[in-house]
């Protein structure tokens, strides 16, 4: 009972925090127009939004909450598969929230001192942040399909406000790409869910997976769902919004976007696809190929980017590509899946926190705290190295799936993933390089919320295998004789990066062609295609409209002709009047004749 209440509170608490500010505005009507001090929006309470969720993950055993009246019957639960997801999401949300207090401090000060514009922008941030969090938590905890979809949609649409927070041109462009792709994804998800849930006649995700495994056209439904969630997970071809939207958001928002929210797509796959059942082998092969393509392609394109956050966004696409390939392996070889799920979960959590730490680190390198430079840059490089698989959680993660794939006979896939790891190393190098070039001057004390949140995130990211609750499984450290096999991609990557850097420095010129590679890659191509299609449609619409108006005018013409005819009838009136006398006479004559003859 207590636990169910806590589960309810997990979702209710951020909502209450969100509603606090508008309530204040309503109570003090006209406060916005008045000059003078404003309340602090991102206060200590605001940061506590994910705390109940953190407490919930500590609750032992399963927790359930059922509500008949909610949508079509809510069923929320926390079980062993959901626990790691909830834990790491809540953690990153909490740390990023803390970080945001420091990151937005100038806006906060402007707002408090009476700058109405800053106040409103911050108000939007302060409200949409917990709302996005609620959506994220709900989609993790929901077991019934409508709640899950609600969580997903809520998160997606509320996060739009976070993306465009800056309000400049780039932010709006990123926001547009984000929204358009998200809506397309929502459409596919809706179609897939309706089709699947309608066919197997269920309302819960567990039953949906079970039903899809045996449904007649299950593979097609799975494909649709895979594509729909793939938009969020950054599947290649659908990933175009990622490098446009992630860099423009405020840094804490980028951290949760790239760390947690991108995982919502993965959670969607795990929740809806019949993984571990037969029947998805073909899709699995395609998924592996697409995943690897994303892992390699994004790495290749990402190194040409200048903005460190864009490089990191491409790295997210690349990492998600690797995870996608692992999910694909699970589809292609169902026997591997239960073990692979553990590896995928570990990978996702590792990537989530590490990428979070990296994004938060971008803000740190712009506003460095008072630390010795070597220590600062070691700490900044730590998650990068971990992501490249050289050490700590990255190494453990790599070993976790490598071991499995070797046993399952997927040596080729492992080789390709290693190549992708070379790419990751290059990306990390590039990101740090750009951060170094754009580093700021010393400004903030170490004991403020921004550096503390970042440090905590780095610590959490590198120690993932130590605390992650993986349902009894424990991630192993690789035996020493495996280390060369695990470390060569990163070493190769470092050597390559060093060479390129050396050449660039020596030649002392920038790469001209790289400047033309705008973030968003395929997006610009899509845009051109859509423009052409729209122009064509517009022409079609005009033609139809013309035909319609021609029809209408013809109908009107008929009508006016009919009215003319009707009014013409008055002419007959006169004729009738004239005929009246002869007619009467005629009738009389006829009658007389009748009498006479009769």
């Amino acid at each position: 009972m207590m636990a169910s209440l806590l589960l309810g509170l997990t979702l209710l608490w951020p909502l209450l925090l969100m509603l606090r500010n508008p309530l204040w505005l309503v109570m003090e009507h006209g406060a916005l127009q008045r000059p003078g001090p404003r309340p602090m929006l991102l206060d200590a309470w605001w940061v506590t939004a994910p705390v109940p969720a953190l407490l919930l993950t500590l609750w032992p055993g399963e927790v359930q909450l059922q509500m008949q009246g909610w949508l079509l019957g809510a069923q929320w639960q926390l079980d062993d598969t959901r626990r790691p997801w909830l834990l790491f999401s809540a953690m990153l949300w909490a740390l990023a929230g803390l970080y945001a207090r420091g990151y937005l401090v100038t806006e906060q000060q402007a707002a408090e001192s009476g700058d109405g514009d800053a106040f409103r922008r911050l108000l939007g941030f302060a409200m949409l942040w917990p709302l996005t969090l609620v959506g994220n938590l709900l989609l993790i905890l929901a077991e019934d399909i409508p709640s899950f979809y609600l969580g997903f949609a809520l998160m997606t649409f509320a996060a739009y406000g976070l993306v465009v927070h800056a309000g400049n041109r780039d932010a709006h462009l990123g926001g547009r790409a984000y929204l358009i792709m998200a809506v397309l994804g929502e459409g596919m998800i809706l179609g897939g869910l309706l089709w699947a849930a309608g066919t197997v006649q269920v309302l819960t995700l567990t039953e949906l997976r079970a039903g899809l495994a045996t449904a007649e056209q299950g593979a097609w439904m799975a494909t649709l769902l895979w594509l729909g969630f793939g938009v969020k997970a950054g599947v290649i071809g659908l990933h175009v919004w990622l490098p446009l939207a992630h860099p423009v958001a405020p840094t804490p928002a980028s951290a949760v976007l790239s760390g947690v929210m991108i995982k919502a797509g993965l959670i969607g796959w795990l929740n809806t696809l019949p993984l571990g059942a037969d029947g998805l082998e073909t899709l699995g092969a395609v998924v592996i190929v697409l995943g690897l393509a994303a892992a390699l392609g994004a790495a290749g394109y990402g190194v040409s980017q200048r903005h460190p956050k864009a490089v990191l966004a491409y790295s997210s696409v690349s990492q998600m590509g690797m995870i996608t390939a692992l999910v694909g392996a699970g589809m292609a070889a169902p026997v591997l899946w239960p073990a692979l799920l553990v590896a995928v979960t570990l990978f996702a959590v590792h990537h989530g926190l590490t990428k979070g730490a990296l994004f938060l680190g971008v803000g740190i390198s712009e506003h460095p705290p008072r630390l010795p430079a070597w220590l600062l840059w070691v700490l900044l490089a730590l998650p990068a190295l971990s992501l490249a698989g050289v050490m700590t959680s990255g190494l453990a993660t790599k070993w976790a799936f490598k071991e499995l794939l070797y046993e399952g006979g997927y040596a080729t896939l492992v080789a390709w993933l290693s190549v992708a790891a070379v790419g990751t190393t290059l990306l990390m190098f590039r990101a740090l390089w750009r951060q170094w070039q754009e580093r700021g001057v010393y400004s903030i004390p170490i004991a403020s919320s921004m550096p503390l949140a970042w440090l905590a995130c780095v610590v959490a990211a590198v120690s993932v295998p130590l605390w992650i609750p993986l349902a009894g499984e424990h991630p192993n450290w690789p035996p020493l004789d495996e280390w060369p096999g695990l470390l060569w991609p990163a070493s190769l990557g470092l050597v390559l990066a060093g060479l390129v850097a050396l050449v660039t420095l020596r030649a002392n010129r920038s790469w001209q062609f790289a400047k033309r590679l705008m973030p968003g890659d395929l997006w610009w191509g899509y845009l051109r295609l859509v423009r052409q299609a729209l122009a064509w449609l517009h022409g079609l619409g005009l033609a139809l409209e013309q035909r319609g108006s021609r029809w209408r005018s013809r109908l009107l013409e008929w009508e006016s002709r009919a009215t003319a005819l009707a009014s013409g009838l008055t002419r007959f009136e006169r004729t009738f009047r004239r005929l009246a006398v002869p007619l009467m006479v005629g009738v009389a004559v006829l009658l007389l004749m009748g009498f006479w003859l009769g």
């Binding site: 009507h29 509500m67 008949q68 009246g69 909610w70 949508l71 079509l72 019957g73 514009d117 409103r120 939007g124 409508p146 979809y149 609600l150 949609a153 809520l154 649409f157 406000g161 465009v164 309000g167 709006h172 926001g175 929204l179 809506v183 397309l184 929502e186 459409g187 596919m188 809706l190 179609g191 869910l193 309706l194 089709w195 849930a197 309608g198 066919t199 006649q201 619409g541 209408r552």
Partner: protein
């Protein structure tokens, strides 16, 4: 024959108000307002009583014979009550809104008189127990709405009114023909006696199909099925409360409700299915949904965009009906209510923008969320609901439509749903974007077309509260769909009645 007075009293609440309003002087603002609100409240109460009674298993009936073989019949069934409930609830909201909207404008007496008459006709349509009574109120609705459409009296309004009459009267005539023909075949057609036509046997099927098509043609005019929808976008010149009522419950809904009656209570879903007419309905609905959405996309003004959106959304109801099986029926019926709630909200908001800031075009809405936050929140809720996003009511409709499509083995309907959702997103999200994320006059960029300060809040309270209330209802209808007496619960109740022999 127990408690025959209840349906009659429900009708009387709005019908009897009419002569009183007309006899009051134009300036008697307080009395008229009190009278309108009192009657609307009373009606909500009466309908609630009937809903309660129906759940307890009571039946309400009232009839008398007009000429031999032709009866006037009021009969309360779940379906009718659903419509009556929607109508009474939205009448209350719209009355409040109209009082605020028409403040200081001429001819308020005429407006409220015909307004009440219009609502009385919808109640009559809802409670009508046979085809004859239905037709009676259906035509009354046509006529009583005309003065409302042309209320402003300028050339454009008169023109729209003429178009409206041209369409609806022709439709009514066609419908009359079908009803009379049916009358000749089987006598008085009481709703719910479905075996009447089914018993005619296969010989009559050809004729029945033709009659169905004729009546569909008649009803389709009001339901704004493509290509009979031409009057609706033009009727947009009417004042906002009229448009709200027109789109949410009165005229368009009356047509849709007529089609529901025709399929379920005159022909019976089984017979309609046998005759293969459901597929036809599905095709018509699909065309209308997509066409309406595409046209909405091309509109530059707010109200016409909403009007084309109505054309598309009302056809969801028809689509739901055409999906053979309980889920499809639930979808159609529940959307009858949901669409009403959401669309009325959107029209209130459009009216608010026009009244307070003089905004008619979509590109004038930039940054209006800052100037009018409450209205904009209500609009956002309505728009998200139209797109079909949870937790707003539209999602529940869409969910059941999808379930129904699979159940009826018409999986392609899901494609239509998704396409329509995307189109809805394409024409609603830009509006929301302008409202909340673009800088406008309230940020010091440009000026509102015609700003007035109508009230202490962002605009007059009479205008805000109805919008907030219906937005809240739309939200609740989705969020708490599983609660007893929610629209979904009522629709399920009706469906259980339809499918149990």
């Amino acid at each position: 024959m127990s408690q025959a007075w209840l349906p009659l009293a429900t009708l009387a609440t709005s019908l009897l108000v009419v002569p009183v309003i007309f006899s009051l002087p134009e300036g008697a603002w307080r009395v008229r307002t009190a009278l309108n609100l009192g009657a609307a409240l009373l009606k909500v109460l009466l309908v609630a009583m009937m809903v309660w009674g129906l759940y307890q298993g009571q039946s309400y009936q009232f009839s008398f014979t007009i000429v031999r073989g032709v009866n006037f019949l009021f009969q309360v069934d779940a379906l009718g009550l659903m419509f009556a409930g929607l109508s009474s609830l939205l009448w209350l909201a719209t009355t409040v809104y109209a009082i605020g909207y028409l403040e200081d404008s001429p001819n308020r007496k005429r407006f409220f008189g015909f307004f009440s008459l219009c609502v009385a006709s919808t109640v009559g349509i809802a409670l009508a127990g046979n085809l004859f009574t239905f037709l009676l109120f259906y035509e009354l609705l046509t006529l009583s709405t005309y003065p409302l459409v042309v209320h402003r009296g300028h050339a454009k309004a008169l023109d729209a009114g003429t178009t409206y009459l041209r369409y609806t009267l022709t439709g009514g005539l066609v419908l009359l023909f079908g009803v009379v023909a049916l009358h000749v075949m089987v006598g008085d057609v009481t709703f719910g006696e479905r075996e009447m036509l089914a018993d005619l046997g296969p010989d009559a099927h050809g004729l029945l199909t033709v009659l169905f098509l004729i009546m569909l043609l008649g009803l389709g005019v009001k339901a704004a099925l493509v290509p009979l929808h031409g009057w609706l976008p033009r009727a947009m010149v009417a004042p906002a409360p009229v448009s709200a009522l027109l789109h949410a419950v009165a005229v368009v809904k009356a047509g849709a409700f007529g089609i529901v009656r025709l399929v379920y209570d005159v022909y019976g879903i089984g017979l309609t299915y046998q005759l293969g007419l459901l597929t036809l309905l599905a095709v018509i609905a699909t065309v209308t949904i997509l066409y309406g959405s595409v046209r909405a996309l091309a509109q530059q003004e707010l109200k016409p965009r909403l009007a084309f959106s109505t054309i598309s959304q009302v056809s969801y109801i028809v689509l739901g009906i055409s999906l053979f099986g309980p889920f499809g029926t639930v979808a159609g019926l529940v959307h009858l209510m949901h669409q009403g709630l959401m669309k009325v909200t959107l029209f209130y908001c459009a009216g608010n923008y026009a009244e307070e800031l003089g905004i008619h075009r979509i590109d004038e809405l930039n940054g209006a969320g800052r100037r009018m936050p409450l209205t904009s929140i209500a609009f956002t809720v309505g728009a998200l609901g139209m797109i079909g996003l949870p937790p707003v009511a539209g999602f529940i409709s869409k969910w059941y439509l999808g379930m129904g499509a699979v159940q009826a083995n018409m999986q392609w309907a899901i494609v239509v749903l998704v396409a329509s959702s995307l189109l809805n997103a394409a024409y609603f999200l830009p509006v929301l974007y302008r409202l909340w994320f673009l800088r406008g006059p309230s940020h010091g960029v440009g000026e509102w077309p015609d700003e007035r300060h109508l009230g202490r809040l962002e605009t007059s309270g009479w205008l805000i509260w109805p919008a907030m209330a219906t937005a809240l209802f739309s939200l609740m209808a989705g969020l708490l769909a599983g609660v007893p007496f929610s629209p979904l619960d009522l629709a399920t109740f009706v469906t259980a009645e339809e499918y149990t022999p």
